[in-house]
Symmetry: C3
Subunit: 267 residues, 3 copies
């Protein structure tokens, strides 16, 4: 699979031209920042979580992004319903198991969602991905306590069992699918000090999946774009507050030259 600065840029141009609708059922903490990141990239975000409408909204969408960060029973039912609709219509599904491993409710809900309708892309940090296969939960709240390469084996199992692409994010992001393993080294150490950039990564996976039929390519493109935008933002930021702002500006202004100059990816 060819994944390089040119394939990334081609997808960015497609997103900007088509403005695909990305339907998010996500957590309260990041709704604003995820919507803004999608808009800055060129996609069209919508948030809708009522069981009364999710199946209708999915019909209009280029991708569905499900994020369990502030889950509750009614929302979980809507996530399941939206996923079934997306699956029936062939619309890609991104699942972000925020905090899986921290509580049984999160772990079990994620397992149920995956078992019922396997996502196209499963994206989490190392602790979350490991919690989905391990008997022992290792997650502290929503931050990872494991490094992303220790989660590789868990990711491989999940990918095989459910036929999905798995993205383990961290200092290095790993994208696994069948016999594909892509490593993305872009990003900046200040990024985890901004809340919800993992959720932003999942939202961007949705935008790229809406314009690219290859899930591993879409996931790798999204992680590279977010990592590069984060590096560009960090270079002019005094701390996490300004990083959050500058990241949106960087996504909006992203150029082919910036991607070519900064991309650190092993496909």
């Amino acid at each position: 699979m060819k994944i390089d600065a040119e394939t990334i840029w081609a997808d960015v141009l497609k997103i900007r031209a088509r403005a695909p609708l990305v339907h998010n059922i996500t957590n309260y903490v990041v709704m604003n920042s995820s919507a803004n990141a999608l808009l800055a990239l060129g996609a069209s975000p919508v948030m809708a979580h009522a069981e009364e409408e999710v199946a209708d909204m999915v019909k209009l969408a280029g991708a569905l992004v499900i994020n369990i960060g502030t889950l509750s029973p009614r929302w979980v039912e809507a996530m399941a319903r939206a996923a079934r609709q997306a699956h029936a219509l062939g619309i890609p599904i991104v699942l972000d198991p925020v905090g899986a491993g921290a509580t049984p409710y999160r772990t079990e809900t994620t397992r149920r969602l995956i078992a019922e309708t396997p996502p196209t892309i499963l994206r989490g940090n190392a602790s979350e991905i490991m919690a989905l296969v391990a008997a022992e939960a290792l997650t502290k709240g929503v931050d990872s306590t494991a490094s992303s390469d220790t989660a590789l084996e868990a990711a491989r199992q999940l990918s095989l069992a459910h036929g999905c692409t798995v993205c383990v994010s961290g200092a290095t992001d790993y994208v696994l699918a069948e016999d594909t393993l892509i490593r993305v080294h872009n990003g900046h150490p200040l990024m985890p000090r901004v809340t919800g950039l993992g959720c932003t990564a999942s939202a961007l996976c949705g935008a790229f999946a809406a314009v690219n039929d290859s899930p591993p390519a879409a996931a790798a493109h999204a992680m590279a774009v977010l990592g590069i935008a984060g590096e560009l933002a960090a270079a002019c930021s005094a701390g996490p507050g300004s990083l959050q702002v500058n990241l949106l500006d960087a996504l909006y202004n992203l150029s082919a030259e910036q991607i070519a100059a900064r991309l650190q990816l092993e496909a």
Copy 2:
């Protein structure tokens, strides 16, 4: 009706002096940004959505702003209850039908809310306003797919049928009421790349309606102030991230001179 830089400024001063309470029942995406815009302008925002308290909170408010952006059944009941209370007490109601036309649930909920208690000001983009009268839904997610002048006829019908002021926002904002038609040309093309600035417009309509007895004047004042603040912010912004921040600073620092120099309004 006299609407010019002086009437706008007079209302801004009233808002700053009185800090009217604006009760918002709005969507999760924009709660923070709407509250901050109201505070920056000089109003006092409150968010409260429980059926157990909305009627009590409305009693304290200078205006009620209802926004269906992330609607669900319990919230809709609270919106209906708050609207009845506001109507009974003569408190102005702003209704923002976010995403009407995208799903039947949004379209039908908006129609029900309007039929039950007509709002003082109905503010939406062209697609949303058209969806409320058209048989065919035209909205893609929450972004408009129609231009605001094609929605003028729909706005006229809604205004006549429900006796309310209708504001159709877009590159040009239209404010319609009976024989009044006001056009506001202020704003900046970068503004739609920040999530929820339409919702901010509705929130500001609430602040102006709290100090001005004329709904079309209040709506036009709000649209002009937001458009001018957006222009001032865009002039010093590198992208949508900094625009969102600078817009709040611009609202806070807005002066009579800035309004007089920039206002582009046909009354």
Copy 3:
């Protein structure tokens, strides 16, 4: 009790080193900004509100922060459950009675929560604190209509009745507990123009309570750190938009020297 720049700095270093998990059951408006403030300070925030998981999440936490800003019945039940679990495990509880006094629902809910499980630290503005003891509600929405020193007597009553530390925030912040009265004079007049900085104060009380066994010391440390960061941020901000951003940068970059140079505290 010794409370000075050195004790504050020692706690900041502990938070940065241990990254205590702060479990927030808070309002929709401030979830993003509270999470970002905790991350900027060095703590690890998590938001979780489902009755299905709050007791499990509390087990992992260094502190529980309950904030009723957008309360509804299911959330209140989860708050009560989480508080019982925290009490049973000896985990400090911070309670922020946002808008108590504005509606009977807020006042009664706060009273019920306090009666059922007294918080370790109760932090509100003057109107809110007074509403919890007064027959007459005085709060307009969520902004205080009383000065913080008029609320001192109410705070003293609450502290005695429930054995908790009470923090009344305002131009001067008061921290009361038994025979302790601490005054913190740090802060900036622009801060109330940013939504939810009172909620941020409560979140930071949680972070400090997670590393300091003395509740009044934790509360005073939190108020001083927020006030100082606010002053530093205001010095380079053009308005409330940039203040919100710069405050996070200031929290992240806070130094022993800045605290020593700016602290205005009477213990």
